[in-house]
Amino acid sequence: MLKLIKKGAEADIYLTTWNNKKTILKIRKRKEYRNKILDNRIRTLRTIREATIISDVKTFGVNTPIVYFVDQNKSEIYMQFVSGKLVKDLPEKMITKICKKIGRMVGILHKNGVMHGDLTTSNFILASDKLVMLDFGLAQRTEKTEDHAIDLRLFKEVLNSAHVGIVNQAWSSFLQGYGAVVGNSTKDRVVLHVQVIEKRGRYANVV
């Protein structure tokens, strides 16, 4: 059985079975438009990185799908199927509440020197009893404030564009959860750095 359930930006997600278990197969297919050398480099690197980090972060207590099998040559990862709803598709009130949990999770990652790299509301699944974090293709081991701030900035950008109605509540709820884990002084430092990055943006209010 192989059923396409999502054509993502950089990978296709299939539903299949692995040892009789419902399984997600993530394939980073070759992109015709991309130069072959560049394409191979990106796909291999991200597959290995995702598979490694998705397992590593479990030891910090972050919920992620279990990796069953990795095929480096085909850029394929077989992983646990998590049933639930994407946070992006939940009602706004729920999203605001869950942002605190997301903040806490991101805090745990950062505290342990990992950045997620693609923090959007479609990379979290609310399963029956827990929140599960997905998609570690752009994740990185890093202790740098700059990198941690990039995670926060992206999440803020997503709230600002896709969840306009709740952006302020959701953002402060996120920061509450984040601060509870990393401590207020670290939180303030990272948030301040988010502003530094925003100021680098084109035509940001610098005058």
């Binding site: 950089e10 992109k31 072959k36 480099r41 959007t120 992206l154 564009s161 896709a162 680098r200 209010n205």
Partner: protein, 327 residues
């Protein structure tokens, strides 16, 4: 309604006249004069503004003549109030204010970036697209939501246009260098690895710029080819991410770099993969022009009155996502 639009944000001084009937616009004339810096150099704001000031009377009268319109026939005047180079912006604003106060025509300050998008929509017929705006001043992925264009991804440092221009200037060409780079790139197919930086929906080009300069000794064609492949793939990935996140079924690319064929090819192939309709603004109107300013002026005039003269400032830093849209 007939509107004169004046564009002077950077190297182009342009006047254009558009007639709007119902929801349709017809470009009656669009005259441009482009400031060319010496080879290997970029735009000098003072020199560019001097160029604009010297050529503005001629461009304006040629524009009226071509459209067969008298100044007294104009219903409104709009000018690009930002973002852009201060000295250049002021020239356009002065022309607009003079016409407005002397002839008593309502005046509308317009956001330049918004002009690229709205003109692109008008000319291609796209209704609700995800937009990629790529020019010397912008690299942004946007979608319209709740009265504003929201940014779904953008460059964290320099723009795609700046990246190409700076490599071009480094190699001794005059800005804008996009054409020259495209031409050189088409002569090679040797890819040299360069840094590929996508951060979520955002991209960063500064590292790519330095690394490309370093590989120029291996051959300018190789460098241009590798640069285009890397930079455009980065943009492509950011677009794919935004497409799959927003689920939009239309995609529009506008701005000076939209004229690049290789970029179009990449974006087209992405749209095919996502069952999305692909629109690219016509080459003639993808770069800076008066039409984009005129069209936004007309759209705004359909909902609100012109600005008071004392409110007709220019704003060098004016982000598109701060503009509230009423039409």
């Amino acid at each position: 309604m007939i509107c004169l639009g004046i564009e002077s944000t950077a190297h182009t001084f342009s006047c254009a006249i558009i007639e709007k009937r119902g929801k349709n616009g017809k470009i009656l004339s669009d005259v441009r004069k482009i400031y060319r810096p010496p080879e290997g150099e970029g735009i000098h704001p003072r020199e560019a503004s001097r160029h604009h000031a010297e050529h503005s009377p001629q461009v304006l009268s040629e524009c009226l003549e071509k459209a067969d319109v008298k100044i007294t026939d104009l219903d409104l005047v709009s000018y690009a109030a930002g973002p852009g180079l201060g000295p250049c912006l002021r020239i356009g604003a002065v022309v607009a204010r003079s016409l407005s106060s002397y002839y008593g025509v309502p005046v509308y300050p317009v956001n330049h970036a918004l002009g690229h998008i709205e003109l692109g929509k008008m000319l291609t017929g796209a209704k609700d697209p995800l937009v990629l705006l790529v020019s010397g001043g912008h690299t942004m992925i946007l979608a319209f939501l709740g009265k504003r264009w929201r940014v779904f991804g953008e460059t964290l440092d320099i723009t795609l246009g700046q990246l190409l221009d700076q490599i071009g200037r480094h190699a001794g060409f005059a800005s804008p260098c996009g054409n020259k780079i495209e031409e050189l790139a088409s002569k090679s197919s040797n890819y040299e690895p360069l840094p590929y930086v996508v951060k979520g929906n955002d991209v960063s080009f500064s590292g790519l710029l330095s690394a490309t300069k370093r590989i120029i000794p291996k051959g300018l064609e190789i460098a241009c080819f590798s640069l285009q492949e890397t930079a455009f793939s980065m943009i492509g990935e950011a677009v794919e991410r935004a497409l799959s996140f927003t689920g939009k079924k239309e995609f529009l690319v506008v701005g000076g770099v939209a004229a690049n064929k290789r970029l179009s090819e990449i974006l087209q192939s992405i749209c095919d993969r996502h069952d999305c309709k692909f629109f690219v603004s016509p080459k003639e109107y993808s770069g800076d022009c008066g039409s984009q300013i005129s069209w936004v002026g007309l759209l705004e005039a359909s909902k609100k009155a012109g600005s008071k003269l004392e409110d007709t400032f220019v704003r060098q830093s004016w982000r598109l996502d701060t503009v509230e849209i009423s039409y």
